[in-house]
């Protein structure tokens, strides 16, 4: 057993855990601020300077609220639901490469918990389990609104994961790997463009599906406050509700990271890579670049939410099955033809 490896990974896991929670917490604040600015308001500004302590106030509120478990619910599943959702949200971050590796006196420190050679498949697998969190939570509530929300969530996930997977297949045709680090590194260097240039259609399909997978507006049908009074988390209160809401923001953060890794060159940036920097400095800069890109996409998620109205359910299914899946298959065919005949 290599103890230094274990220590490295434990430290990295702990840091990523903290960063995920921190970003999710401040994403709630950011969401409210972005919403406010887009609507010509100010947003939360009472707790601390510019309202920066608002997430802490919200957390304290969530913890001190009364915990209600409906008597007609299945208690074990009721508790399992939010736990599962949160757990899978955090697990996805394991395969994401956060930056170039550090070098401390000859000891390499890789900023990736596990460089799986099936990284993308791992993400798909874990995200699918996340669907169970919503499904179980909604089912165990024994409430018609929660059940409707859970049904919507699961059918939405199934429909959009297909198109999402197909858009990845098209990309695999020329990356020839599922490892996220190799995909990211394949987008840097001479003559290698970001995948968004090579796969514009695939990117749009992936982006739309990512919105649907995160249950974000305009695909927030599983929650839809106005029609399902919160959907799958109608019956949840206190920190169990907090976990659901929180995990959603972590999902948003992780999916932004995945979009950036797959299509926007991850921690690479043209001409910054060309600079002649020491390894550790280059690593720090690469992490900063990666997080800047992620923050842009988190902002994009919010920007879209406060612009577009929610889909109707049949429109959602039409878009998924009749538009996105045929388009993604077409994309695979076109990419395959190009790889075979042109290249």
């Amino acid at each position: 057993m290599d103890w230094s490896l274990l220590l490295d990974k434990s430290i990295l896991i702990f840091i990523i855990f903290l960063i995920s929670l921190g970003i999710a917490a401040y994403a709630t604040y950011g969401e409210r601020k972005v919403a406010a600015f887009l609507q010509d308001r100010i947003g939360p500004d009472r707790a601390g300077p510019f309202g920066l302590l608002q997430p802490i106030a919200d957390g304290v509120k969530m913890f001190t609220k009364e915990e209600i478990i409906p008597s007609a619910s299945d208690k074990i599943l009721f508790i399992l639901g939010p736990c599962l959702f949160m757990m899978t949200a955090l697990m996805t971050s394991a395969v994401i490469p956060w930056g170039k590796s550090f070098n401390f006196g000859g000891h390499e420190f890789h900023l990736q918990v596990a460089d799986l050679n099936v990284g993308m498949l791992y993400i798909f697998a874990v995200v699918s389990i996340g669907g169970y969190g919503i499904m179980i939570g909604g089912w165990a509530s024994n409430n018609k609104f929660a059940l409707l929300g859970a049904l919507r969530a699961s059918s939405q996930m199934i429909s959009y994961e297909l198109a999402m997977g197909m858009s990845i297949v098209a990309m695999l045709l020329f990356t020839n790997t599922l490892s996220l680090r190799e995909i990211v590194d394949g987008q840097a260097g001479d003559g290698n463009l970001w995948n968004v240039v090579r796969q514009p259609l695939g990117f749009i399909i992936f982006l739309i599906c990512a919105f649907a997978e995160c249950n974000r507006a305009p695909f927030d049908l599983p929650e839809s406050e106005s029609e399902l009074i919160g959907g799958y988390h109608t019956e949840f209160s206190s920190m169990k509700l907090g976990l659901f809401l929180f995990a959603e923001y972590i999902n948003m953060f992780i999916s932004s990271a995945i979009i950036v890794s797959l299509y926007f060159g991850g921690y690479h940036f043209p001409w910054i890579d060309g600079l002649d920097l020491s390894q550790n400095l280059a690593a720090v800069i690469s992490v900063v670049i990666f997080f800047a890109k992620i923050l842009f996409f988190i902002f994009f998620f919010m920007w879209v939410r406060w612009t577009l109205p929610r889909f109707r359910y049949d429109q959602l299914m039409n878009l998924g099955w009749k538009v996105l899946i045929p388009l993604s298959i077409l994309n695979v065919l076109a990419t395959g033809a190009w790889m075979t005949f042109v290249k």
Binding site: A36, F37, D40, R41, W303, V304, T307
Partner: protein
């Protein structure tokens, strides 16, 4: 017969394939919302900032004293009669010997209450008052946690004797002065 040119014929045209993609429309929507990101917000941070109000604003009532510090109100009840919201109640009492420095005339209001939740701040009470006793001021009625706390008695309504507690109603008074003195005398 066509009277104006304002009516427009609505044409519901079939969407072409670019429009059917919806992506251009979504981009337009996004560009509209992003413009608002840089606009000035319309929010007034209330306790710190206050909105500018009109000089003749009709806010919380004040029961005036005269220059010697005596209450003007004689509890005639005209304000209560004039009040369309029936927000004013009062009880009259007779002035005793030795109270001349407190009340201007022989009769005064022992109890005078205005229900601030009923009040519609129309200003008819000050219109009705023959004794210059009640005025609406530019103060805003503060919030309270119970309905009972919105019933203001004399302790809240009568202005204090010392000069610092005087409520300035000169601007509202001007309206009535202008009414009282028409520019041209009606009868010569």
């Amino acid at each position: 017969m066509q009277l104006t040119n304002r009516s427009k014929v609505v044409v519901k045209h079939q969407l072409n394939w670019v429009e059917k993609l919806y992506l251009p429309a979504i981009a337009t929507g996004l560009s509209i919302t992003i413009k608002h990101l840089f606009k000035k917000s319309a929010t007034v941070k209330y306790p710190e900032q206050t909105r500018e109000i009109a000089s003749v604003y009709r806010g919380q009532h004040v029961l005036k004293r005269d220059e010697k510090g005596r209450e003007n109100c004689t509890a005639c009840g005209l304000c209560a009669v004039a009040c369309p919201a029936e927000a004013i109640t009062m009880e009259a009492a007779e002035r005793k010997k030795g109270e001349e420095h407190l009340y201007k005339e022989e009769k005064y209001a022992a109890k005078y209450e205005i229900n601030m939740l009923r009040c519609i701040y129309c200003g008819l009470c000050e219109d009705a008052c023959p004794k210059d006793a009640i005025y609406l001021s530019d103060r805003i009625v503060p919030t309270a946690f119970t309905r009972g706390n919105f019933i203001y008695g004399k302790d809240m309504l009568v202005e204090s004797v010392d000069a610092s507690g005087k409520v300035d109603i000169s601007k509202r008074k001007k309206i009535y002065d202008m009414d009282a003195q028409p520019k041209q005398p009606l009868l010569k």
